[in-house]
Assembly symmetry: C2
Homo-oligomer: 240 residues x 2
DNA sequence: CGGTTGGTTGATATTATTCAATGGTCGTGG
DNA sequence: CCACGACCATTGAATAATATCAACCAACCG
């Protein structure tokens, strides 16, 4: 589908955590809490270029990652090659939480922009934390959050039309970025191609184009140069 | 939407577990393992009639249940009242696992047939098991399984047509029942109304009717009297 | 400069919905 | 036993939503 060659550069920086804005949230907070001291838990920093695969279905990456910068998409493919994007991964998101339960990935994760991540070795993590209820609860939290996200996407795909899906998709991304402090008022970074949005929402790129054009003409949003601004929330919600 | 009156009968049978076919699987096995002895963990047996709500979004049922008999559906509703069935619950399934993370339900669970269940009080369960890694891992397992199910449904809704969705839905149910020993060869109980199937797959009841009719005419399945038989797996898969 | 990627637009085709009518099944009460 | 109502399934015709096909444009990059 796209010939990338898995050449992520790995930087052996033993602790970028102190400067990381996600050190106090999600998985990182728990891991750092459980393995205190300077060298909480061995990890590897790394990066991928836009469009590279982080891992593919069937692979066993053996590590769980936290996105530090950039966006990625987790997707599944039908036997006849159609793609369904299961979730959009934003900075601060955990990638590969599923690998704790089954070492072999069933989904593909692909970088949508250049990304930087930090990775924990699953075996080590399990060895040191398997019996730590705090750690396991963190996994429950991660899984539960992403299940809720899948379920609300399910409602979108099953029972809402194209315009409603796109609006609720935009709002979801908007809120997630805002919570992480990555929004600038009503403006968020929005590097997604229409094709990805289409594959996330069960639509075609052409149809996504039409609807986004309509939203723009209506004056509900501005979307240029990888930035999206919500100009009028009322108008945006007018057909949801 | 439907005037039911929550009149579940509660039978104070302190231990139906010894005769329960699900005592060695899923949540029950873990709870029994953690709280050994005759009275492993206080629980309540109960029943609902077909169509009754087990709980509604916004309620805090305060207990987690295991379905012993009968089928149920977990659904969400859009603001304009459309229903999306998130999952079909079969005998042996855990109902309300989500309530461990947030006490207030965000989904509705409704009995599709008369059901019997057995319920654990969440507070008690948490008090005795919160720090038991085995218990928490069981939650990870439950959540993870249902997330995978949501995700594969997501692929159906996003990227497959009506016929493909219906076939894969039938096969999913077939496999789940078979795993639990509730199938009789190629025949399974199938008490689902077309309207429920439609709401699970993002279709209309009318369209479900057409497609099932087509599957019957083609000789792929037999479906009468609440029983479904797969007559020809090849034919069934011919448009998937 | 030419190739590639991403986006827009129009014409047309397909898929699924909506509306509407009809018949079957099942339980309940006379 | 039959009549009744509630629920469920089937079918046809008309319509709406979305996909497909195809052309074109703009931006970007080596």
């Amino acid at each position: 589908m796209d010939g990338d060659n898995e050449t992520q550069k790995r930087i052996a920086s033993s602790d970028g955590c102190s400067s990381c804005s996600f050190r106090n949230s999600g998985l990182c907070a728990v891991v750092i809490g459980i393995n205190p001291g300077t060298n909480h838990c061995r990890k590897i920093d790394g990066a991928f270029r836009a469009r590279q695969h982080v891992y593919r279905a069937g692979e066993a990456p053996g590590r769980i990652m936290v996105l530090r910068e950039g966006w990625a998409a987790k997707s599944a493919f039908t036997p006849d090659g159609k793609r369904q994007v299961l979730s959009i991964l934003l900075p601060g998101d955990t990638v590969g939480g599923e690998l704790v339960m089954r070492s072999e990935a069933r989904t593909h994760v692909q970088a949508l922009t250049p990304i930087k991540y930090c990775a924990f070795d699953i075996d080590e993590l399990m060895a040191s934390s398997k019996h730590e209820p705090k750690f396991v609860w963190a996994l429950v939290g991660l899984c539960s959050t992403s299940r809720e996200a899948s379920e609300s996407r399910l409602v979108d795909l099953g029972r809402r039309n194209a315009a409603q899906r796109i609006v609720s998709f935009i709002l979801e991304v908007f809120e997630r970025l805002t919570k992480r402090g990555l929004a600038d008022g009503a403006t968020i970074p929005f590097p997604l191609r229409q094709h990805i949005i289409a594959d996330a929402l069960g639509l075609t790129q052409v149809h996504v184009s039409r609807i986004i054009t309509a939203l723009r003409k209506r004056g509900a949003i501005r979307l240029t140069g990888g930035k999206l601004t919500i100009l009028d929330m009322g108008l945006l919600l007018s057909d949801v």
